[in-house]
Amino acid sequence: MPSAIVLKGLVKEFSGIRAVDGLSFSVERGEIFGLVGPDGAGKTTTIRMLVGVLLPTSGTAEVAGFDVVRQPEEIKKRIGYMSQKFSLYGELSVQENLDFFADIYLVSGREKEARQKRLLHFSKLGPFVGRQARHLSGGMKQKLGLSCALIHTPEILFLDEPTTGVDPVSRRELWEIVYDLLEENVTIFVSTPYMDEAERCSRVAFIHKGKILALDDPKQLKTTSGREVFEVKVKNPRQWRESLEGLPGLLEVEIFGDKLHLSFPKGGMEETALKELLARPGGAVESIRKIVPSLEDLFISLVKGQPSGG
């Protein structure tokens, strides 16, 4: 079976500025792929081109085997899309929104009833069917948006920052719905600025200023990150931080509560050696241990490693 999504040198310029700068990768069927990066990295622009509402400046992309420029209507039949901004009809109730999207996707009769019942069940929106969408909480709005995007059981689902502005409980519920979809072999393409959410994906692409910095399985990314991180527990981390400058091979020091994260190049430091280096008179190092670097550590280091071009 061909890949669900294929990008080849995809570029989008807005008045001379490259918002998306030559993306090439593919997403396989049944995987959950995360596009991860800060605001303004080009996530939304990429998704808009893939769902066929924005024309690329150059390059090509295929979704479900169809070209985004030449066959957007074929794509639109097969995908679900939830845009970043809440974009349902606020004056319409939950039920009316579901009905509207069912009609737009030509779902009717018993099928419509059955699907709506199921979507209301797993979104837990059943008790709120009569409420106008504009009066729902942030989390419920997103769940309704997701339900509307799923009314026609799409092959591929595009979610643009689905959890931005959503409380932790609703966020967890949203992810549970997404995992249920994976079991039905729906391909999911999700963008997020949150690193903890990136860990939930089967593969992630780090995107910054329209370019891919790294692309892999999150576990793999961390082990091949080319760095080692030690967690050091001390009494007063702020004072320690300053005194550590100039430590041989030290890439970075970050404070996490009463602990310091010290990053070194891979193989650049041993735990025992570090212990000796930090054993100073008056210094009270309570513990030292080697930890797996977080995706956030990695992303920051990748961004810092980029040639600075404004």
């Binding site: 808009r48 769902v51 066929g52 509402v53 924005l54 024309l55 957007p72 209507e73 639109k76 039949k77 995908i79 899309y81 845009s83 901004k85 809440f86 974009s87 349902l88 009809y89 606020g90 004056e91 319409l92 009316e96 009905d99 509207f100 999207f101 009609d103 737009i104 996707y105 030509l106 009717s108 106008q132």
Partner: protein, 379 residues
Amino acid sequence: MRRQRILALVKKEFITVRRDFSFALNIFILPLIMLVIYGYGIRFDIQYLPTVVWDLSQTPQSRDLVEKFFASGYFRAAGMVDGYGQIEERFDKGKAKLALVFPTEFGSRLARGEKTAVQILVDGSDNNTATLAVGYASGIVRGYQADLVVGKLVQKGIRLPFETPVLTEESRMWYNPELKSVNFIVPGIIVVIMSMMGTVMTAMAIVGEKERGTFEQVAASPLSGMEFLVGKIAPYILLALVDMILIVAAGYLLFQVPIKGSFALLFLFALLFVSVTTGLGLWVSSVSDSLQGAMTLAFLVTLLPSILLSGFIFPIENFPAALKALTYLNPGRYFIEALRGIYLKGVGISVLWPQAAFLSLLGASLLGLTLLRFKKRLA
């Protein structure tokens, strides 16, 4: 084009309109307010214009003429004054619009058969009224002059040796015998309201979806551009027609303005006209990205032409040539001609077919162009 999709859009639009108070205000309250304001407010005819008199002659002749003024129904007494200063004061305060000034020798000169004059001063700041007032006033003075001549002959017992030719005028206002302004205005209001409804509401409905992001959601669905537009404009065409019926009914109930011609023909013209104005609305929505911009542009392309360049208030015959040529592009012009023809004259399609043809042409080209140009994309 799938019926299920279009019906879904139409239904959605009606629910939105029903639940959004400002929409309801625009659709039902605004037209009635406009009808009442214009209906009671705009008067092209004059009645009982307040008139002051400065009579220096104090003679039967001057009193006679003053009496003729007030008996005419066009003027009413607003008091006696003494001097130009007082006249000016009354004009400034709006207490009087017209002043009659009789010189000291008015009566005696007339009695002697000499030439004299009555001065008529008019507040010219209201151009329309002033022109009409002067016309009526000079008519009254001429009538009085004729009476004087005849009176003198009779008084002297003179009988002319031949039959004097007697020429009188007998004027009738056809189509609007009482010369009621409101008969003229109700058709005009229909034009104004329907062009606003068609253009402003359509443009706002579409740009609103762009601004709120809902357009992006439907653009990423299999809904076709044509389905989207048809589903979006159909409700507003319907609402515009409802408004038309509302104004026709209110015009009849509030101002006793009847329709002489066929209501079916009126409806047909309304349908043609609204296809042009929704076409304009689509065009506005295709060039604006914000509700604010769309509103401004929509008002500019509808309200101004439909009030100023349609012949609603200012007769097109008096326009300079360039402006007159421009009115041929104004759909409001054809619609107002048709409406007045149907309303006041009761004429049929045999007379109004050129208007129908022009409206169809404008509507078809505007709608056609905008529908073809519409893209289901964000930029």
